[in-house]
């Protein structure tokens, strides 16, 4: 039996683009340019957002800043209880993180557990000067003391709702939707 889902679009293509543009400027403003700046997208949604941010930043300031991809699966805290192993993606951070300002990028900030795992992973790659966090959506319900430095949109949600960021690169269209089973 497939349950019916109630779907509500809370952000469209233009909305996402405007958010990312603003975040790009905020990152540059906060860090006074691109010196020592690197971006690391968290698989999978964060990777596409990181690529878009990298492009936007390169338009605003001269030159391309380094972009890494991080799969946090191996750092998750729920692996031993997971019946189904998540598919493991590749991690690609082909540059040193020592003394860099790392901007972690993810699509939705929720419990904070993914970001905890990501920070642990980053530390295994070196000693960044600073780690900052950029997310498109902050839906609340934190379970760890974690806060984003750059937020596209604060989206108060209920626990039974699912917030998903759909992107052209993987879903064929850009939109943010709230889904709930009816």
């Amino acid at each position: 039996m497939t349950r019916k889902k109630n779907t509500k679009t809370v952000m469209d293509k233009e909305g996402i683009d405007r958010c990312l543009t603003r975040i790009a400027y905020e990152i540059l403003e906060k860090n006074k340019g691109t010196k020592d700046l690197v971006l690391v997208g968290i698989r999978t949604g964060g990777v596409y957002l990181a690529e878009r941010l990298q492009k936007k930043i390169s338009v605003i300031e001269e030159g391309e800043i380094p972009l890494g991809i991080l799969d946090i699966t191996l750092y998750r805290d729920d692996l031993s209880s997971a019946k189904r192993k998540p598919r493991l993606g590749k991690t690609k951070i082909p540059f040193s993180l020592d003394d860099k300002i790392v901007v972690l990028i993810d699509d939705v900030l929720f419990t904070g557990r993914t970001i905890r795992a990501a920070m642990d992973a980053l530390i295994d790659f070196g000693r960044p000067k600073m780690i900052q966090l950029a997310v498109l959506i902050d839906r609340g319900h934190r379970e760890l003391p974690i806060r984003a430095d750059f937020v596209g949109k604060n989206l108060p949600s209920s626990l039974w709702q699912a917030v998903s960021v759909k992107l052209v690169e993987k879903n064929g269209a850009d939109e943010v939707v709230i889904e709930e089973e009816t």
């Binding site: 799969d71 191996l74 692996l79 031993s80 192993k85 598919r87 493991l88 992973a121 790659f125």
Partner: protein
């Protein structure tokens, strides 16, 4: 996708989808071994027992490194230090180990089927690290991973396996795996080293090495156990190496871009001439070792904790 199994006992029992899943997972693990800090916390608190009833340096080391890079605790038990000498049966040993709640038991045993016996008796996941002349599934997986990386695919390749097929678990696991993945397998060895009805595994069998390696994309040389000479499996090492050693002369029969594999350790000049073994344009023997750690990390990750 998941590896819906408690144990990995042989390649015969796993599907093409499962092989691909393991290889893809292993591919993601390759990167960890290149980090400065070669460790992830994934299997923190898990205990992995390497139960080795047969001497093995590289396989045991590879499993141990794999486990340690995943932060698991490993215990090595080898036949010489275990209760075997005191006459304890495998099942007794297993039950004792089980009582200490390990998560995975990796077993190497000279008796074919020993991992199956163990798997039927304990609740832990069992990984077969080689049982007699039966299977050596992790070796076949790392071989497949190496071939896939070097050749971009396995389907449609011509792969020759040369040497003592009868006593080789590496040969059996690779025949199962590579034929499943769509390769065409030829084997060659002295008639005394070709087990009965082996052609029924869906492969071509030759008693001349030249016929088997002609046009091959991959040549896999098997290790000759030197003590077979005494069992009259072949008259002498000298005669064997004259007819079944891969050298500059016969390798010309294979495809130009042929790769040469060997499960190790090599008897230089017996199975492979030293210049070929050391020629890194053809020999991928060290790549195999490198892939071995990633494949074993993938399996430990996929089997540790949480299967339905």
């Amino acid at each position: 996708m998941k590896l819906n199994k408690k144990d990995l006992l042989g390649i015969k029992d796993i599907s093409v989808e499962e092989i691909n899943f393991i290889l893809e997972t292993a591919d993601s693990f390759l990167e960890i071994s290149t980090r400065e800090i070669k460790k992830v916390p994934t299997l923190r608190g898990k205990t992995i027992i390497n139960l080795f009833y047969e001497a093995s340096t590289r396989t045991r080391t590879s499993f141990e490194i794999a486990a340690k890079r995943l932060s698991a605790d490993t215990i090595n038990i080898s036949a010489s230090t275990s209760s075997v000498a005191k006459g304890e049966t495998l099942i007794d040993t297993a039950r004792n180990l089980e009582a200490m709640n390990p998560d995975i038991i990796v077993i190497r045993h000279s008796a074919a089927g020993a991992p199956h016996l163990l798997a039927s008796q304990v609740k832990q996941s069992i990984i077969n690290a080689g049982d007699g002349a039966h299977e050596h599934p992790t070796q076949a997986l790392l071989d497949m991973m190496t071939i896939k990386e070097k050749k971009g695919k396995i389907n449609g390749l011509k792969i020759a396996i040369i040497g003592d097929i009868a006593h080789s678990r590496v040969a059996r696991s690779n025949i199962y795996g590579l034929t499943k993945m769509g390769a065409q397998i030829t084997v060659a060895g002295p008639a005394t080293m070709l087990p009965r009805d082996i052609e029924q595994m869906g492969i071509k069998v030759y008693d001349k090495m030249q016929e088997a390696i002609t046009g091959a994309d991959v040549i896999m040389m098997l290790r000759i156990q030197l003590e077979r000479e005494k069992q009259n499996i072949f008259p002498s090492l000298r005669e064997y190496s004259q007819r079944f050693c891969l050298n500059r002369g016969n390798i010309a029969l294979a495809k130009k871009d042929v790769i040469v594999m060997h499960p190790g350790p090599i008897n230089r000049g017996v199975e492979i001439s030293p210049d070929i073994a050391d020629d890194l344009t053809q020999s991928v023997i060290l790549d195999q070792v490198n892939k071995g750690v990633a494949v074993r990390m993938a399996l430990l990750f996929l089997l540790a904790g949480g299967h339905e």
